[in-house]
């Protein structure tokens, strides 16, 4: 009998622990493997450590113990010059948006493409395309600071997706959105996933992962636990 080919991991976390000073244990002994092209959800109560886990993966934080590898690079040992290159491959939609309020919506989205020196025509085209997908085309020239929270959330999602990264990390991407807009955002993520992007979504919103066949991971007090209504799947038992 032939053994199925082992899928390559884009994220490999082995027994990672993160403690914030003085002694707040945000994550404890986390082990996780995410394969290329996978889409998965990370759930858990507020303060369970979802954001910290995303921060470890995108290199905003470093683990105190254990190993975090992204695209084969050890985040603890990554050299200064490699960090920007890696970050260009990761699109992060932040819970607090991290938008520049005095820049237009288009300029905010374009930033993620400008840092990788994409040409202006490609950037303009991509920005318009994303704004249309997220029903924000009329806000193209509006200042980000003048938008509602829901609109700002969509802009941060558009910015995360714009540069066609290998990995998208979304922190509560639908927290401020209504049902219809949530659907638009999830459609966008699914399109990205179909084109090969790995997506990790940290969310409280059961509605977006209950009907999904994707893996769901649950964090509880900094530890990965089995969700109540479904098994924690691993890359090896994925459909």
């Amino acid at each position: 009998m032939e053994t199925p080919p082992v899928k390559k991991s884009i994220v490999e976390i082995v027994r990672a622990t993160k403690i914030y000073t003085p002694d707040v244990v945000a994550l404890e002994d986390i082990s996780l493997s995410i394969t290329y092209g996978e889409m998965l959800f990370l759930t858990g109560m507020s303060g369970a450590g979802k954001t910290t886990l995303l921060k470890l993966i995108c290199g905003m934080e470093r683990p105190d113990k254990g190993l975090v590898e992204v695209t084969g690079k050890d985040m603890n040992r990554i050299k200064g010059g490699e960090t920007p290159q890696l970050r260009q491959q990761i699109g992060m939609a932040y819970q607090d948006f991290k938008l520049l309020p005095d820049r237009t919506v288009a300029q905010n989205i374009a930033m993620s493409m400008e840092v990788s020196y994409q040409n202006s025509r490609t950037i303009k085209k991509r920005v318009i395309e994303l704004l249309q997908k997220l029903r924000l085309e009329h806000k193209h020239d509006a200042l980000a600071g003048k938008l509602s929270r829901g609109e700002q959330q969509r802009v941060t999602i558009a910015r995360a997706v714009a540069n066609s990264p290998k990995l998208i990390l979304a922190d509560e991407p639908t927290g401020n959105l209504d049902y219809k807009t949530t659907k638009l955002v999830m459609e966008l993520f699914e399109q990205c996933n179909i084109s090969g992007t790995t997506i990790l979504i940290a969310t409280h919103d059961e509605g977006i992962y209950n009907k999904s066949e994707s893996r769901v991971l649950e964090l509880h007090s900094g530890r990965l636990v089995q969700p109540a209504d479904r098994t924690i799947s691993t890359p090896n038992n994925m459909p």
């Binding site: 905003m60 920007p84 991290k98 400008e114 840092v115 040409n119 202006s120």
Partner: protein
């Protein structure tokens, strides 16, 4: 090409945001360049005038008696042994008298009651151009006064000494204004960039998270420094040029300017001043980035 267009776009955005501070820095740089180059211009012209005076430098040794031919060759040997000279010219009592009558022109009758041999014979020594410093001239003059038969040595001591002290004073002012230029341009630009970095901390943080390289973040600031240096020095030099033209128009004619033959900087000096300003401003920007950005 993409790199440059992206960086220029970023620089343009930065300049639009921080133009009031940038404008003040530009004025400071221009003013510093103007002050420095003003004194430097006077100094270079004084040096030029000094060289011109050096060309005309002549030491006259008045003698008790007219030297005989053998004595003349002995004197020449003694003078040239101490210092190489361009020319040595002997003037007899008669030659001196006839020169004076020529100089007096129509007023020659004032000499009517005087004996034609009342003027002393002399030797005129034209030193080589290598004899440039006042100390060297003084030493040479002291030596000449010890020659046999010498009564007095003259070379316009007072004028040369005054000119020499004035040039020294100018040199100090140029050095001080040069130091002022270095301090103001470097610190002002460094301070402006520091303010820009602090004001845009949030933006820089987001750029880093999005994967901006150090080059992407730093280069626009360095370009700002470069532009401050280029525009600041150009404006300063332009202001000096117009000031020079104004002085030239209103003060030309017989006087100091005519004597000195005042000229503006050569294109090479202009290029050097602009290049130095650019280097200082870009350096100030770079040091500020190293201090406050930690990238």
């Amino acid at each position: 090409m993409k790199f440059f267009s992206t960086i220029l776009l970023q620089t343009n955005r930065n300049l639009q945001k921080t133009w009031p501070t940038q404008f003040m820095t530009l004025l400071t740089v221009s003013l510093s360049v103007l002050i420095f180059s003003f004194f430097f211009l006077i100094y270079t012209n004084m040096i030029k005038a000094g060289e011109k005076l050096g060309d005309d430098l002549r030491l006259t040794i008045y003698l008790e008696e007219e030297p005989v031919l053998e004595m003349q060759s002995q004197l020449v040997r003694k003078i040239t042994n101490f210092n190489p000279v361009e020319e040595i010219r002997f003037t007899s009592r008669d030659d001196a008298y006839s020169r004076l009558t020529t100089q007096l022109g129509d007023n020659v009758d004032v000499l009517d009651d005087l004996d034609s041999s009342f003027l002393p014979p002399s030797i005129e020594v034209y030193p080589k151009k290598s004899l440039s410093s006042l100390a060297q001239i003084k030493r040479f003059s002291e030596y000449l006064s010890t020659l046999p038969g010498a009564i007095k040595v003259q070379y316009g001591q007072e004028w040369i000494e005054r000119f020499n002290y004035f040039t020294k004073l100018l040199r100090i002012i140029v050095l001080l204004s040069g130091a002022l230029l270095i301090l103001t341009t470097t610190f002002m630009v460094a301070y402006t960039i520091r303010l820009a970095v602090v004001a845009r901390q949030a933006e820089l943080e987001i750029l880093r998270l999005l994967g901006a390289t150090n080059g992407y973040i730093r280069t626009p600031f360095l370009i700002e420094g470069f532009l401050q240096g280029l525009l600041g020095s150009t404006l300063g030099l332009l202001a000096l040029f117009f000031l020079f033209r104004w002085i030239d128009m209103h003060f030309s004619g017989p006087g100091l300017l005519q004597l000195v033959d005042f000229a503006f900087f050569s294109p090479t000096i202009i290029a050097i001043i602009i290049a130095a300003s650019i280097t200082l401003c870009t350096g100030g920007s770079f040091s500020s980035l190293r201090k406050f950005m930690r990238i």
